[in-house]
Amino acid sequence: MPDATIATGSTARLGKIEGDLKVGSNAKILAESGNRVVVTGGAYFDGPVNIACDFECCQMRVAGKGFGPGPAHGDVKVTGSLLVQGELEIDASAEVNGNITAERVDIGGHLKSKSITSKRVRIGGHMETDGTLEAEDVDVGGHMQVDGQVNIANLRVGGHTDIGGGNIREAIQVRGHFRTRGKLSYGDFHVFGHLTLPAGSRGRRLRALGKVELEGDGYCKTMEVNGVARASGNLEAESLKVNGKLEVEGVLKVEDKLEVFGSMETTNEVECGALAVGGRLVAAEVASSGRADLGGEVETDRGLKAKEIAVGTGSRVKGPLIGDVVEVGKGLDLGGFWAQVSNWRSIGRMTKVDDVYGMDVRIDRYSQAKNVYAETVRMQSGSMAVEVLYTREADVSDGVHLERPLRKVEMLPGFPF
């Protein structure tokens, strides 16, 4: 038995209710004095309700009979704030002019409110928040809009998401587009639609299928671009894989491995640990502190420098190559589906590179270099070069085509960068 009951369709002025409150459909609740009604137990509503003040209770449940036109189907309107110590459960939609604080928020339809503080928020439809959102888990079936900052552990949204910035520490899955107006710290981000992140955003992992706009400088530990991504500033990552297309206006720094199976373009420098190209890479210059496996097309203005460089059969490199060990026309296995696609593209093609600078340079058959400057040079039958200068040893097979005679020199020309 509830401790207080309000009949269907009636208006009640309440103060403090000791115990439970049971309310019929289409009731209106006003504050007896001040602007607050307090229920020390649970508040249970049979249907739609209009609460014209702040409302506080231990638990709140509003039943609905299913979606339909008009307010008669279970919608809740609160002109003040809602403070629920336990669970706030509403079958239909709710519009709260003030803030919502609850242990758990579970709304079947849409929710419109000011700030929300809760451990777990689940909204079946859309969510629209004027203020901030603080929660551990947020689960929204439709679109989500939060004007202020968010502080969330896990976020899952079925539609589009628009937030003011903040921190989403763990997993983020957004089916639609994601936009944040302020900078965002993120954990493991998986977005199917378009993604816009402002300058200064930092994250642990980013997998994006749609268009990604990184406005200004950005950092992401592990990044996978499967659609089209554009960074208008500098971009830093620990590892970066491009299966789609990436354009960087600033400098790209990848601490560990940069893999390009799609297309990557920048008018600036690229710095990376290891490099694997199965698609197309265009940059002013590329500096790799480790190994560079080039299985597609590489184009640089000033050159590509790495400790060891392997240019795969049928690949094309424009701009100088600078390495301790450079092998041109080698069979490469970059691993993975896209690398295989790149291999198919290069079948039957001649390997072509520009100038090569190195300590140990090897040009395999059906490979063509412009000028080769090296301490030790080995050229297989069927390879071609314009000029070959060396300082220690040259092993040039029969059937090698050189436009100028092979020359041993005291000193090689300097590296272009």
Binding site: H110, H126, G142, G158, G227
Partner: protein, 97 residues
């Protein structure tokens, strides 16, 4: 707070119903779903039954009534739907079915 600005295609609606169901791992009841998707209960029942017949959703009955869940095939459909939607938007195409 209107549910949608433009008319949803049948495929959009199927995907939306499945998406809302995934947010109820304990099983989604039709009344709840109707509010999330913005479709009256009688019409929604037809849609979820059709999703069940396609093997994209499943039905379970307990003391409290009927609830619905998403099958692995349904999850596969959702992933494919959103991937395709993203590709088509990229190409400037409509996803209307």
């Amino acid at each position: 707070m209107g549910r949608r600005d433009s008319k949803r295609s049948k495929t959009d609606l199927y995907a939306e119903v499945l998406e809302v169901i995934t947010h109820y791992p304990e099983g989604a009841r039709v009344t709840r779903l109707s509010y999330g998707v913005g479709v009256p209960v009688d019409r929604l029942k037809i849609i979820v039954e059709r999703l069940c017949s396609y093997g994209l959703a499943n039905r379970s009955v307990d003391d409290e009534g009927t609830s619905y869940g998403v099958t692995p095939r349904g999850l596969e459909f959702l992933d494919t739907f959103w991937k395709m939607k993203s590709f088509l938007e990229e190409l400037g195409e409509s996803t209307g079915a």
